[in-house]
C-alpha cells in the first residue's frame, strides 16, 4: 500500500480510468450521467452515498452497476424492521470442529454495500451500519475487523412511504458524503429503457473495467490533488456561511468541509486536473451540503428548501482568487 501511495498516477491517466468506468455504468443506467459521476466521485473520495428518490427510478440498478463495473465484492442488504445489527456486522459462532468461536462476517464486509430502503430498519440496526460506515472497522466481541478498500455504502431511501419507516435522523445523515436524487428519466431515456429491459439482466452482463486494487490506487491519487490556499478558504467560507444563514437552524459541520474538499479533489481528478478550482466546489455543494442543513421552523413553514439555501450561498459567498481578478 505504501509503495502505491508513492506511485504517482498522473491526472490524465486517472481521468481515463474514470471515464472508462463511467462509460461502463452508463450502458446500464441511461440518461443519468451526473448521478453516475457523483457516485464515482463519492467512491474516489471514500464517501458514502444516500440515494433518495421515489421507487422505480433505478436506485438499486445504479448501485449494482457501480459495483459490477469495478470487479469487487458487493453485498446487498434489504433493510426490514426485523433486521438485526448482527446481520450487518457479523456474528461469532462456536465452531465445534475447532473448538473455538469463528467470526461470520456480516453484510457490511464487502467493497460495495447496497443498503436498500435503509429507513425500514430499526434505529439500532441503522446505528450499527452508520458506525461501521464512519469508522471503516467493525468490532464484534472485542475483536476489531478492518473493512476493505474501497468501501462504499450506497443506501437508498424512499421519501414517499412514511408508514412503518424509521427516517434517518439528521445527525445520521451527516455520515453520508452526499445525497443524490436520481429523478425520472427523459422521454428518450425512458423509451430506451422499454426497448432494452426486455433483453434480460443487463447488469449481470456488465464486464468489470477496474479492480479493487486499481480503485484503491485512484483513491490515493485523488488525495494528492492540489487544493490551493484560497480554495480551501472558499470551502470554509461556504460552510461557515451555511451556519449563519437566516433560514438555517443547524448548518453544515466541519465534517462537511472535509467532505466537500475531498469530493472536489476527486472531481478535479475525474476531469484530468491535478488542482481543484472553485467550480468543483460549486458543483458539489448541493449534493454534499443540502442534506446536512436543518432549516428553521419558519423556513420550513414557508416551504423553503435546503437546495434554495445552498443556491443563495453559492450566489453570495465571494470566490477567493489567487492573483488579481
Amino acid at each position: 500500500m505504501a509503495t502505491r501511495r508513492r506511485d504517482h498516477v498522473p491526472a490524465e491517466q486517472l481521468a481515463e480510468h474514470f471515464r472508462r468506468i463511467e462509460a461502463n455504468i452508463a450502458t446500464v443506467v441511461e440518461g443519468k450521467p451526473e448521478v453516475i459521476r457523483l457516485a464515482l466521485i463519492a467512491l474516489l473520495a471514500e464517501g458514502h452515498v444516500l440515494v433518495e428518490d421515489v421507487p422505480g427510478v433505478g436506485k438499486t440498478l445504479l448501485a449494482k452497476a457501480v459495483a459490477k463495473s469495478i470487479a469487487c465484492s458487493v453485498r446487498r442488504v434489504q433493510f426490514t424492521p426485523d433486521l438485526l445489527p448482527s446481520d450487518i456486522t457479523g456474528v461469532s459462532v462456536y465452531n465445534q470442529e475447532h473448538g473455538d468461536f469463528e467470526f461470520k462476517p456480516g453484510a457490511i464486509f464487502a467493497n460495495i454495500v447496497l443498503g436498500d430502503e435503509i429507513n425500514r430498519a430499526g434505529p439500532k440496526t441503522q446505528s450499527a451500519m452508520l458506525e461501521a460506515m464512519e469508522e471503516r472497522t467493525v468490532t464484534v466481541d472485542g475483536t476489531t475487523y478492518e473493512l476493505g478498500v474501497p468501501f462504499m455504502v450506497i443506501a437508498t431511501q424512499n421519501p414517499v412511504e412514511l408508514e412503518g419507516t424509521y427516517p434517518l435522523p439528521e445527525a445520521q445523515r451527516d455520515r453520508f458524503m452526499m445525497r443524490v436524487g436520481i429523478g425520472y428519466p427523459s422521454v428518450a431515456a425512458e423509451l430506451e429503457v422499454l426497448d432494452v429491459h426486455g433483453q434480460g439482466d443487463r447488469v449481470a452482463s456488465l464486464e468489470p473495467v477496474a479492480d479493487a486494487q486499481q480503485i484503491a490506487g485512484l483513491i490515493e491519487a485523488a488525495k494528492e490533488i492540489h487544493a490551493a490556499e484560497p480554495l480551501k478558504r472558499y470551502v470554509v467560507d461556504l460552510v461557515r456561511a451555511s451556519r449563519d444563514h437566516a433560514a438555517v437552524d443547524l448548518g453544515a459541520s466541519p465534517r462537511a468541509s472535509l467532505a466537500l474538499l475531498r469530493a472536489a479533489r476527486a472531481l478535479a481528478a475525474c476531469e484530468g486536473r491535478d488542482y481543484v478550482v472553485p467550480d468543483d466546489v460549486k458543483q458539489l455543494a448541493q449534493p454534499i451540503l443540502a442534506h446536512r442543513l436543518i432549516l428553521s421552523p419558519e423556513a420550513q413553514m414557508a416551504d423553503r428548501t435546503a437546495a434554495e439555501v445552498i443556491d443563495e450561498l453559492l450566489a453570495s459567498v465571494p470566490i477567493p482568487t489567487a492573483g488579481a481578478r
Binding site: 492540489h226 490551493a228 478550482v277 467550480d279 450566489a315 489567487a322 492573483g323 481578478r325
Partner: protein
C-alpha cells in the same frame, strides 16, 4: 560550447525583475505622463503663496528634472540608492546654477563658496518663512526651500509609482504638496480651479493602474490585512487613516510656509464703520507692472497733487509696511484731522473715477478738508492713517465723481528747520529687531556725511541719497530685511522699496515716519492744463514724516523714470510742479537729471565708497536676488527636452504595449483575463464576487457564437490553472493569450474603432471603480504573485 553555455546567463541577467523592486509591467508611458501631470498640478496652488508667476519656471523645472532623473535612473536599472544619489547630485547642480551661479568653478562646479552661500540662503529662507506674509515675492531664500521641497516630492512620487507601485501613496504625497499652499493663503479663488487639474491627473494615474496592476494598490495599506478574526477590513478605515495622515501633514507643514497665520490681505467686515485690512504695498507693484494702461481716474486740480489711498504706519515683524486696519468714521462733509497743521496751500480738485474695480479706499490728497458730490455721504475717514474710505459695502464705480478741498502742508524752510518731530507716539517710531544692522548703519552714515542735525535736514539727506539710486520695476522683490539689504547693496529698486527703506531709516534715526500709498499726479491732458489722467503706472509709495505743529510732511525718495513726482526740497517743501514739468521734457525720458537739476547735493554719489557695504556680501546677496529673477535658459531648455523625450517614449512605448513575453506566466494569464474582463465590463457584463472564472467568462462569451464560448472555456481553464495549480508553464500563458485574443476578436467583432475604444474605456473605469469599492487586497494574492514572479 562556451557560447551556448553563456547565452542563458546573459538572458537571465538581461531580464531580472527583482522581487523586492516590483516594476510596472505595462502602460508605463501612460503612467509616466499621468505622474508628471499629477506633480505639475500639485505645484499649481503655489501660485497663491507667491506673487506673480516668476516662481513657476524654477518650480516646474525642478519637478521635471527631479522626476526625469529618477525616471531615467530607474530605466537604466539603477537601484534605489544609486537613483537617490543621482537625484541629489542633480539637485545640487540645479540649485547651484539657479541660485549660486557666480560661486561656481568653471561656471558649473559648485565649491566651498557655493556651500557657504547655500547654507546662508537656506537659513535666510527659513527666516523668511516665519516672516513673510502670504503671498510673498519669489525671493531666492523661499525659492530655494520650495525647489528643494518639490525636488524631493517629485523623486518620492516617482519611486512610489514605479518602484513601490503604490499610486495611492504617490497621490497622497502630491496631495500634501498641493494642499499646503491652499491651507496657507486665504481663499481667493474657487477650490475647483486648483482641485480639477490635480484630480484629473490623479484619476488618470489611478486609471492607468487599472486591470491586473490594480491589486498592488494596497500592498502596504491597512485594507490589505485581515484582523484577528480573519475578517478583511473595509475601505473606510483605510481611507480615514490616509485622510488623517494627509490632514496632519498638511496642518503641520502649513505652519512652516510663508505667511501662515498672517492676516489675510484684504477683508471687509463690520457694519456702521468700515474696517479694512490691507497690504496695498503689494498692490502698488501689481499696478506698476499691470498690463492695463487705461485711465483709472481723471483729476481736475489747480496744481498736481499726490493722491493717497492709505498710510502704512506699522513696520511689523513680518517685515512689511502695513497698518492696523482701517476703521472709518462718517465724514459729513468735513474731514476731522488728527494733528495740527501749519501753513497749508489750499487745493480744490474734482476726481472722476474711471476704472478702480472694487476700490473701497478713496484716493485723496493729504490733508483732505472737505468733500462734496453725489457720493460724499458715503465717505468715511480714519484719522490715524489719514485714509478716506467708503461705507461698508460701497465701492467706487466708474463715473463716480467727488469734489475735494485739501490743505497741503507748506511750511517754510525756517519753520521746518526749527520744528521738532512728534516723539510722543511710540508706534510711529517702532521698528522690529530684525531690521538689518546695515540699514541702521547706512542711515547714520548718510546723515553723518551730510552734517544733518535737525530732523528736517536728516530727512532731506536720506531723500537725497536715495534719489541718487536707480529706479526699476524689475527689482529683486520684497522690502523685508533681506530684500532691503539687497536693495541698499545694489541700489536698484522701485517706489515701495525706496519709500519702505527710507521710512525704516528715518525711524532708525528717531523720526516718526510712515509710508503713504497712492498715485503720483498723473499726466496732464493736452487741452486742459488743469486735468490729469491717472493710470496704473502712476501707482506709487512715498514717505511722510510727522513734524510737531506742521502735520505730516511728504518726502519723495524714488527717482521715478517718468519724472511724475513732486520732490520736496529745502526751499520748497510742497512743489507745485513735477520733476518732468520743471524739466520741461518728455515725461517718458529718464528722470534722474531732472532731479539733479532740482538741486540735490552733487557730492552724494561720490560718497558711495563710504557707504558701500562689504563687497562679498553684495556678491552673495546679488546672486540670491538674481537667481530668483530668472531661471537660466538651459534649465528651461532641459525641461522642454525632457517633456519631448517623454512624449516620444510614450509614442514608442505604446506599440509594445500588449506584448508580455518574458513576464511570469501567472501575470500573463491574469493579464489576458483582465483584458477580456475589460471588454466584458465595457459591454455591461460585470463580474460578481461569487462568480468563478468559468461562470464569468462563460457569461461574457454567451451569445457571441461557439468560437467565443470555446475560447472562453479555454481561457477560463488556463486562468483556473494559473490561480489554483501548483505550477504554471509558459505554454499555459501562451494558450491563455491566444484564447483571450480570439475571445476579444469575437466580442468586438462588428464594432467600429470608436465603439471599441469606448468599450475599453468603460471597462477600465468600471474595473477601477470596482477596485475602489472593494479596496481589499487579499494576502494570498500578493504572496502568490511574489512566489510566481520568482
Amino acid at each position: 560550447m562556451s557560447a551556448t553555455l553563456q547565452r542563458p546567463t546573459a538572458a537571465q541577467s538581461a531580464a531580472p525583475p527583482p522581487p523586492d523592486t516590483p516594476r510596472l509591467r505595462r502602460g508605463e508611458d501612460v503612467v509616466t505622463l499621468a505622474t508628471v501631470a499629477l506633480l505639475v498640478a500639485a505645484c499649481v496652488p503655489l501660485a497663491r503663496v507667491y506673487v506673480g508667476l516668476t516662481f513657476f519656471r524654477p518650480v516646474i523645472g525642478a519637478v521635471l528634472l527631479s522626476f526625469g532623473l529618477s525616471w531615467g535612473a530607474r530605466r537604466l536599472d539603477a537601484g534605489p540608492l544609486p537613483s537617490l544619489f543621482i537625484v541629489i547630485t542633480g539637485w545640487v547642480m540645479f540649485c547651484s546654477a539657479a541660485f549660486f551661479d557666480d560661486t561656481l568653478f568653471a561656471g558649473f562646479l559648485p565649491g566651498g563658496a557655493t556651500l557657504a552661500a547655500a547654507l546662508n540662503l537656506w537659513a535666510r529662507g527659513l527666516d523668511l518663512v516665519a516672516l513673510r506674509p502670504s503671498p510673498a515675492f519669489a525671493e531666492a531664500g523661499l525659492m530655494f526651500l520650495t525647489v528643494t521641497g518639490v525636488w524631493a516630492v517629485a523623486h518620492a512620487v516617482e519611486g512610489l509609482v514605479f518602484r513601490a507601485a503604490a499610486p495611492i501613496r504617490a497621490i497622497l504625497m502630491s496631495l500634501v504638496l498641493w494642499a499646503v499652499p491652499l491651507a496657507v493663503a486665504p481663499p481667493s479663488t474657487r477650490a475647483w480651479v486648483w482641485a480639477v487639474p490635480l484630480l484629473a491627473a490623479a484619476s488618470m494615474l489611478m486609471l492607468s493602474f487599472a486591470g491586473s496592476d490594480l491589486r498592488r494598490w494596497g500592498v502596504w495599506s491597512p485594507a490589505a490585512r485581515r484582523d484577528h478574526r480573519g475578517v478583511e477590513r473595509s475601505l473606510f478605515p483605510t481611507g480615514a487613516v490616509h485622510a488623517l495622515v494627509a490632514i496632519g501633514a498638511g496642518v503641520l507643514l502649513a505652519g512652516m510656509l510663508p505667511g501662515f497665520g498672517d492676516k489675510p490681505w484684504y477683508e471687509v467686515r463690520g457694519t456702521g464703520g468700515t474696517t479694512l485690512t490691507t497690504n496695498p504695498i503689494v498692490d502698488v507693484r501689481a499696478r506698476l507692472v499691470a498690463r492695463d494702461t487705461g485711465p483709472i481716474m481723471r483729476v481736475v486740480a489747480d496744481r498736481p497733487v499726490y493722491l493717497r489711498t492709505t498710510g502704512l504706519d506699522v513696520y511689523s515683524d513680518g517685515e512689511e509696511w502695513t497698518n492696523d486696519g482701517i476703521r472709518g468714521a462718517p465724514v459729513n462733509g468735513t474731514f476731522p484731522h488728527e494733528v495740527s497743521l501749519g501753513p497749508v496751500n489750499h487745493v480744490r480738485l474734482q476726481v472722476e473715477v474711471r476704472d478702480l474695480p472694487q476700490a473701497v479706499l478713496v484716493p485723496a490728497p493729504y490733508q483732505a478738508l472737505t468733500v462734496d458730490g453725489p457720493i460724499a455721504d458715503a465717505f468715511q475717514y480714519d484719522r490715524r492713517n489719514s485714509t478716506v474710505t467708503l461705507d461698508s459695502g460701497a465701492t467706487l464705480n466708474g463715473g463716480d465723481t467727488y469734489d475735494l478741498e485739501a490743505g497741503i502742508p507748506s511750511p517754510t524752510q525756517e519753520q521746518l528747520e526749527a520744528a521738532d518731530v512728534v516723539r510722543t507716539n511710540p508706534q510711529l517710531l517702532q521698528l522690529p529687531e530684525n531690521v538689518p544692522d546695515e540699514v541702521h548703519e547706512l542711515a547714520r552714515t548718510i546723515v553723518g556725511s551730510a552734517d544733518a542735525t535737525t530732523p528736517f535736514e536728516q530727512a532731506l539727506a536720506v531723500q537725497r541719497e536715495l534719489r541718487g539710486w536707480e529706479y526699476s520695476v524689475e527689482p529683486p522683490q520684497g522690502h523685508g530685511g533681506q530684500a532691503m539689504l539687497s536693495f541698499i547693496d545694489n541700489r536698484v529698486g522701485y517706489c515701495e522699496q525706496f519709500a519702505g527703506t527710507m521710512a525704516v531709516m528715518l525711524r532708525s534715526l528717531g523720526l516718526p515716519s510712515r509710508v503713504a500709498v497712492g498715485y503720483t499726479p498723473g499726466e496732464p491732458v493736452g487741452d486742459d492744463s488743469n486735468a490729469y489722467v491717472i493710470t496704473n503706472a502712476n501707482a506709487h509709495a512715498w514717505v511722510e514724516v510727522l513734524f510737531d505743529g506742521l502735520g505730516w510732511i511728504s518726502f519723495e525718495p524714488t527717482p521715478r523714470s517718468d519724472g511724475n513726482v513732486l520732490v520736496p526740497s529745502a526751499t520748497n517743501i510742497a512743489p507745485s510742479r513735477t520733476v518732468a514739468e520743471l524739466d520741461g521734457r518728455d515725461p517718458s525720458a529718464e528722470g534722474q537729471e531732472g532731479f539733479e537739476a532740482a538741486g540735490p547735493d552733487p557730492d552724494l554719489r561720490n560718497r558711495e565708497d563710504a557707504n558701500a557695504p562689504p563687497t562679498e556680501a553684495a556678491a552673495e546677496g546679488g546672486a540670491g536676488g538674481a537667481g530668483s529673477q530668472g531661471t537660466p535658459r538651459w534649465i528651461t531648455g532641459a525641461a522642454l527636452l525632457f517633456v519631448a523625450a517623454l512624449l516620444a517614449a510614450a509614442v514608442v512605448g505604446s506599440r509594445g504595449h500588449h506584448e508580455m513575453p518574458g513576464r511570469p506566466p501567472l501575470e500573463r494569464v491574469l493579464h489576458a483575463r483582465s483584458e477580456v474582463e475589460q471588454i466584458g465590463r465595457g459591454s455591461g457584463v460585470t463580474p460578481a464576487v461569487w462568480e468563478t472564472d468559468v461562470e464569468y467568462l462563460g457569461r461574457v462569451a454567451h451569445r457571441h457564437g461557439p468560437a467565443a464560448v470555446a475560447a472562453a472555456q479555454e481561457l477560463a481553464q488556463q486562468v483556473g490553472r494559473a490561480r489554483y495549480a501548483r505550477s504554471l508553464s509558459v505554454e499555459s500563458a501562451v494558450a491563455a493569450e491566444a484564447a483571450a485574443g480570439t475571445l476579444q476578436r469575437e466580442l468586438l467583432g462588428g464594432r467600429n474603432r470608436l465603439q471599441r475604444m469606448l468599450i475599453r474605456l468603460r471597462g477600465r473605469w468600471s474595473a477601477a471603480a470596482a477596485h475602489i469599492r472593494a479596496g481589499v487586497d487579499q494576502p494570498w494574492s500578493s504572496s502568490r504573485r511574489r512566489a510566481a514572479s520568482r
